[in-house]
Structures are given as C-alpha cells and as structure tokens.
Symmetry: C2
Subunit: 332 residues, 2 copies
C-alpha cells in the first residue's frame, strides 16, 4: 500500500469527528492553523520530542507510542495547571506503514478526545521513527499558572500517585519479563497518566509545580534551581505502589527507582503549610494519593532524610536522566 | 567538552539579549511558555521538521541549517500574511557538539532577531540530526489571513521572485560544483528568503496564497485542491533568475527545475483581475518582481501552456516532491 504525504494526513489524522475547540477557526490543511483565544486568556505553549530507542524501547507498540507521545505533553500542561486545548504533530517515519499509522493515530486521537484536544496541524517526514508534539493550553483570565519558580521557604513538597513504577517497567521490558506484575509496571511506562485535573485544582493552592519526567531528584533539583531554595527530601515518605512493593527487589534498589527513575509523570508541587487541608481535600476529590515528601529550605542544597537521619545515597549526586550527559542510549 | 541538556539550552538558546514580543509573559525555562495575545487577535500556528539528508544535504553547514530551519517556518507565516512572533525549537543531535551548536544557534537567532521573533521554548534530545520548529504568528483583529481556499475562478496567479534556483543549487551540491555561479544557487537553496513582508502586504489584496516549498506544480495543485478550481499555468511566464538563465543547461531542463523544483519559498498567490495594479504597486514598494503566471479556471484540471500552445511535459503528472511517494531519500 502506497501513501503519499497528503493522503496520509487525510486518512489518519484529519479523519476526526474530533472535538473542535472553541476558538479554532481553521485546523489541518492550510499553511497554518488559526486560533482566536478568549479575551485576557493566557496561552501556554510546550513542546516535547520522543525518539525511538531513547524515549521508548524499540519494541513499544504503535498504540503505546501514540498514547505516550501525547501524554508527556499533557503532563507539561498539568504541571502549569493549564487546560490543554490544541496540538500539532510532526511525525518522522521510515515508511508510511498503515500497520503502524492506524494504531498510532487511533491511540493518539483517543487520548486527544478524552481531553477535548484539537489536532490543528502537523508535518510528516521520512526518517527514523520520532515525533514532536507541541501543545497549547490556556488558563482563564485572572488565573496565575503554576510556575516552577513560585516556591517559598517552608513550603511542603507533595508528590501525586506513586513513583518508580515506570523505571521498574523499563527494567521489565529490557529483561523481557511478561508476567502479570511486570505487565502492569510496563503499562505505567507506556501509558502514563498526565495529572491534568490535579494541576488545574492546584491553581491558587500550590506555589510551584513540575512534572516528574526525569526522576524525583532530577526534577526537584530543577524546581530548586527555579525557586532559589534548598529542600529536605524525606526518602522514606516517597509514595510506592503496591506493585513496586511486591517486586522481588532489595529495598535500596526500590528506593533508587523511586528517587531517580524517570517517566512516571506524577506532579511534584510545593504548597504553603496553611494549604495542607486543601491539598488533602483535592486528593480525596480526585481519588489520587497526594503525599508530603519534604519541605523547601533556606540555601540551595538538596538534603535527603531517612527515618530522621541524614543520608547521602550514591545516586544522589548523579540525579536523574540527562539526554546529553548520559554516556549512551538508555535503551537499545 | 561536555554539555548537559540544561547548560546546552542556557548557553546556546537562552543567552539572548533577544527580542521579547509584547505578550510574552514567560519564555524558556518552565514546563511551558506563557503568552497573552491581544484582544481579538487571530493566532496562526504552523510546524515544520527538517531532517538531515532529506531536507538538506548532509554537507550543509551548521549555520545554513539553523537559518533554513527557521526560514521555512517563516515562509508558512508569509503564506498566510501573518506576522511571525513566537517560536519553539526541538533539536535532535547525535552529540552536544559546540562546533555545531554555536553557528547553528547564531544563525537561527540572528534570523529570529531580524523578524523580532521570540524563542519561547524547546527540547533537546539525542538522536540523528533533525529539528522541528513551531511558529506562532498573528494577524490584527479584523484582518483575514490568506487562506489557500480563497481563490476564485478568473483570479490571476502570481509568483514572487524567481523559481528553480534552489533546485539548481541542489544539483550543484550533489555535483560538488564550487564556482561562483553554483555558489549563488546553493545560497538560494540554503538561505531562502521567506516573503513575510509580501504576505502581509497581500492581506486584503490576494484571495489565496501558498508558499512554494515542493515546487510550483505541486503547490499549485495543493492550492487548486483547496479552492476547488482548475488553473492555466503559463510555463513561459515562470520567472527565471539571471543565474539560472546563465546555467549551461537545456531550456527544457531549466523549465523542469522552475516548474517542479522545491525549496524556493517564493509565494504563489491568486488575485482578482481588479487588483492587478495593487499587486504591481506592492512589487515596486518591496523591490520584488511579482509575475503573472496563470489564471484560476472552472473545473479541476491543471493545464500548462507554452507560447499559446497547450503542452503536457512528462514531469507534469508527477508534480513536485512528496516525502513518502519518493522512492528513496532525495539526498544521500
């Protein structure tokens, strides 16, 4: 089956009975899409690229790739407390393979529909499998988004859900484990849930937020760099899932996965002590555990604590994953 | 020299004493950038990906790559009559090489400054050399952008500047020609001029416009598909540069380059006969040749004419370049 660039876009990406955002004047099909934002609305713009073998294992299914490519961008909107509204997709493919394109576009557009997202443009090129999604969201007039830099000394640090599952899932992929427990962990790697509703609920409650893409330690360091604060991180408070608990690994290894494993896409956010009850209420409303894991401090140091003792695990200095500092490809 | 992802962004892309668009609340450095568009302003969003060996020859200099990556996106704004305002950059690099990054970012940011563009975000990943730029522009409240679909039967078709030089430049690159004439043609391939001022001047004058990225015939077909019109194309009126004229090639081959060669990034636009004088005035103001090359017709056919005779050159059915229909890589 031969597909040219135009029929490819028409067939797989423009077919949508899809949601049209209020404010979309023109979607796919011209030199640019046209939007009219509401009066006083602040727009938020973010972009993320995923490359096969680097951001997901080569053996990842087309559907999982389509889902994840969008989920990581939704997560950026979540971290700002924004409502995601529009996306563009640039897709590089070795060849126009319907067996890839159908499940890829199905999964991507299904997730887009869940969030009433409007796919307004894109580009398809021949090349090694990679995709760049740009997402545009908004916060209503008068609302202040969740900046990374908004944290204040004394703020409590919270993490949503649990951390470490995606990193354990990656290990399971590499080891080719296919048992039920491994499958659930791999699902958390391939189908992360962006905490969009949580981000929106935290507007006016949290002082700062970031999504955990590179690992708790690495992303906390980013937050600290932006706030100019230091932090205490209570390692024994890091939220662990039942699945990770049940995994036959040493406790220290589980802790390493939780503290440095990437790809969980939970939110890490700082909240004034006075808003603690509000955070608890939000967690109950969303049926989402929100766990206090530390506090912003004077200075610039990140200090880890375990059972009241100061600790300095070996992995602390390394932090999380960095694309260019990493010696080689994470996945092969 | 080792660079991690964060110092890479800081050093090469955030260093700017760069222009800050009115309406930019937050640029690079958080999970998303923040914009506040003006009241009633229409935003235009477009995205283009360039892959080494496909959209530019591997031997292209880093500076030329940086320039062209932005220029092709500016051209999408030009084709809509929009004022380009914000960009994001996603850059995939095999390794964080300062000898690439310095000239690449210098050229890209210099061109951005020329258009008072604000680089508000991006992503850097390890991978084969490729880049995706998303551009956001605007037209003032009450102005209607140049849609592809706005053409009307009877409209004159115009082309700006000249066509075919970039395709001749590509042939010169492949043949490793380094004479002065070849160098000028290669410059048109590597440093296309987006017709931004022309696009803006055509608001309210032209009915439809598209930029010529894939070749006159291929892009005219796109315009026809959008308008639902056919067209007469006067091949002997296609504007040729002095350089292409001087090239020792058969006339038929020059014509093929002009009609099907991509990468010129001139504008092809349709104008009511009554606006012909306005188009001439715009050309004089901008010191840019604007040449009538055909007319929109009833039906859906593209008919080529040469010296008053209907002709059907062999290349007519093939049209221009298509990433996926092409048998293999254009460049190697």
């Amino acid at each position: 089956m031969e597909l040219n660039e135009f029929s490819l876009i028409d067939r797989y990406f423009k077919r949508q009975s899809h949601y049209r955002q209020p404010g979309t004047l023109l979607g796919i099909g011209d030199d640019a899409a046209l939007l009219t934002p509401g009066v006083g609305e602040t727009l938020l713009v973010s972009v993320d690229t995923l490359i096969a073998g680097r951001h997901f294992p080569h053996q990842t299914s087309a559907a999982d790739i389509g889902y994840k490519a969008l989920a990581v961008n939704l997560s950026d909107m979540a971290a700002m407390g924004a409502t995601p509204r529009w996306i563009t997709l640039s897709l590089a493919l070795p060849h126009a393979d319907p067996q890839f394109l159908q499940p890829f576009s199905d999964a991507l557009l299904a997730l887009a529909a869940e969030y009433q997202l409007d796919l307004i443009g894109g580009d398809t090129v021949q090349g090694a499998l990679a995709m760049t999604i740009q997402i545009i969201g908004s916060v209503p007039a008068g609302q202040i988004p969740l900046y990374r830099s908004g944290g204040v000394v004394g703020d409590l640090l919270f993490i949503s859900g649990s951390v470490g599952d995606a990193a354990a899932g990656l290990q399971a992929v590499i080891a080719e484990q296919q048992d039920e427990l491994s499958s659930r962990l791999i699902l958390r790697l391939n189908r992360p849930t962006a905490r969009v509703a949580l981000g929106q609920a935290l507007l006016g409650v949290a002082n700062a937020a970031i999504d955990i893409s590179d690992g708790v330690v690495a992303d906390l360091r980013q937050l600290l760099r932006a706030t100019g604060c230091g932090a205490d991180l209570w390692l024994d408070k890091l939220p662990i899932s039942e699945d990770l608990q049940r995994l036959p690994l040493a406790a220290a290894e589980k802790l390493r996965l939780m503290a440095t494993g990437g790809d969980d896409y939970e939110l890490l956010f700082s909240v004034p002590e006075a808003h603690r009850a509000q955070v608890e209420a939000i967690g109950q409303t969303l049926h989402l555990p929100l766990t206090a894991v530390g506090r912003l401090t004077e200075g610039a140091d990140l200090t880890c604590w375990q059972k009241g003792e100061r600790v300095a695990p070996k992995w602390l200095c390394r932090g999380g994953f960095d694309h260019f500092a990493a010696a080689g490809a994470l996945l092969s």
